[in-house]
């Protein structure tokens, strides 16, 4: 069991580091369906996976200048407020309606992202005074294009709203906040895709850390399940960061779109009770 989980987690780590996700969307079905573990240990392991992906990938992305610290901390305010308000209203809102709502939101985002699949760099974006005031700009060295790319965020308020939804979702359902973060950064705020996934990677660990203690004290984090997940995901995320810097922004989006599409369908189906 240990070795199987370790190998599965490596794949989750690579995917998470590339796409800015925590890997929970891979870990939970893999552990429940393939390994046959109870759902509570799978969800506990997915929290560990999110934190391992985030810390493992962000260590490289922060140094490489791909993860933007100001954008991450600034938007993490919206996300953590969302997570806490999600925890407040959890139990008072119908879960199936949530799945349908979030699923439809993701389906809409899939279409929006499809229109952007061929865009390598955002180019000049509409000026947003708030982005200027918060210094939501930066530059990174693009290994594929072989030059430094300067970028500036736009639509900071709508992006923050999406970040709030990302936090709300992780507070209410415990999954998928990475998806919404990448969408907020890429589709709404129009950052380069690499900066979006790297910055999301930095953020998801902070969001997950808020609820990790709860899962731990509930006993949902089983050492012999969480240990191979943590080690496998860390190794996978570390290698994923090396792969990501060699990929085009367009390639990353092409990998992201099918993942997004599958999850939105999965969520809508779950909401409908299929």
């Amino acid at each position: 069991m240990f070795v199987e989980i370790l190998v599965l987690s490596m794949f989750a780590g690579v995917a998470g580091a590339l796409l800015g996700l925590g890997g929970g969307i891979i870990i939970v079905p893999a552990l429940t369906l393939l390994i046959g573990l109870p759902i509570r240990y799978a969800i506990g392991a997915s929290i560990v996976s999110v934190i391992a992906t985030s810390s493992g990938a962000a260590a490289a992305y922060v140094r490489g200048g791909l993860a933007n610290l100001r954008i991450a901390i600034g938007l993490e305010v919206a996300t953590t407020v969302g997570a806490v308000s999600g925890a407040f209203i959890a139990g008072h809102v119908p879960v199936r309606l949530l799945y349908i709502t979030f699923g439809l939101l993701l389906a809409y985002s899939t279409v929006a992202l499809l229109g952007r699949v061929r865009i390598e760099l955002p180019g000049d974006v509409p000026f947003d005074p708030l982005a200027g005031r918060l210094r939501f700009h930066g530059e990174y060295h693009d290994q594929v294009l072989g030059r430094r790319i300067a970028y500036t965020a736009t639509s900071v308020l709508p992006g923050s709203l999406m970040m709030y939804v990302a936090g709300l979702m992780s507070g209410l359902l415990g999954i998928g906040s990475g998806l919404f973060k990448v969408l907020a950064l890429d589709v709404i705020m129009r950052l380069p895709m690499k900066v979006s996934t790297a910055t999301s990677n930095f953020m998801i660990g902070v969001t997950a850390a808020a609820s990790a203690g709860v899962y731990f004290s509930r006993g949902d984090i089983h050492p012999l399940v969480a240990a191979p997940v943590a080690l496998g995901v860390l190794a996978g995320a570390w290698s994923g960061t090396h792969v990501m810097q060699r990929l085009r922004n367009t390639t990353l989006r092409k990998l992201f779109v099918p993942v997004l599409a599958v999850i939105s369908v999965e969520m809508i189906l779950r909401g409908l009770g299929v």
Binding site: A209, V214, R218
Partner: protein, 145 residues
């Protein structure tokens, strides 16, 4: 043009602000790296202890079922310390300490960011990072209620 160049030379913060992100990124990268390596080392040590007690076959390639219930698991800091002191469930306790170290790492990165922003005298971001830490604290308190 004139006013721009004078603004740059008058403001002492400008050159600092230009250099600072790299230094901050280096420190932050180092903190994340060290956190990850230490937690991974402790987790590996825990797994080695599991293997030592139960045998490599049982732990690494064992059947697809969980050994014992979760009752075996120390799940609070107090229980962890008790487990180590009384020499019971030591492999689980050591592994859990490694996992907890991993979980603390992202929080630590926000603390490091806050300190870095303070050194840059970027008070807006000191406040924003403090709000994030406050929300993390609030979230964990709410979760325990």
């Amino acid at each position: 043009m004139d006013s721009e160049s004078s603004a740059v030379s008058v403001s002492p913060a400008a050159p600092e602000a230009h250099d600072a992100p790299d230094a901050t990124a280096r420190v932050l990268g180092a903190v994340l790296r060290v956190g990850v390596l230490i937690s991974a080392a402790i987790i590996v040590f825990g797994v080695v202890l599991f293997v030592h007690r139960r045998g490599a076959g049982a732990v690494l390639f064992g059947p697809r079922s969980l050994p014992a219930g979760s009752g075996e698991d120390p799940s609070t800091i107090g229980e962890l310390l008790d487990a180590l002191r009384n020499d019971v469930h030591v492999p689980a306790a050591v592994t859990d300490i490694g996992l907890l170290t991993l979980m603390v790492t992202p929080v630590l990165s926000v603390v490091v960011s806050l300190i870095a922003f303070a050194r840059e005298r970027d008070w807006t971001y000191v406040v924003l990072a403090a709000i994030v830490l406050g929300m993390l604290a609030l979230g964990s308190i709410l979760g325990h209620v």
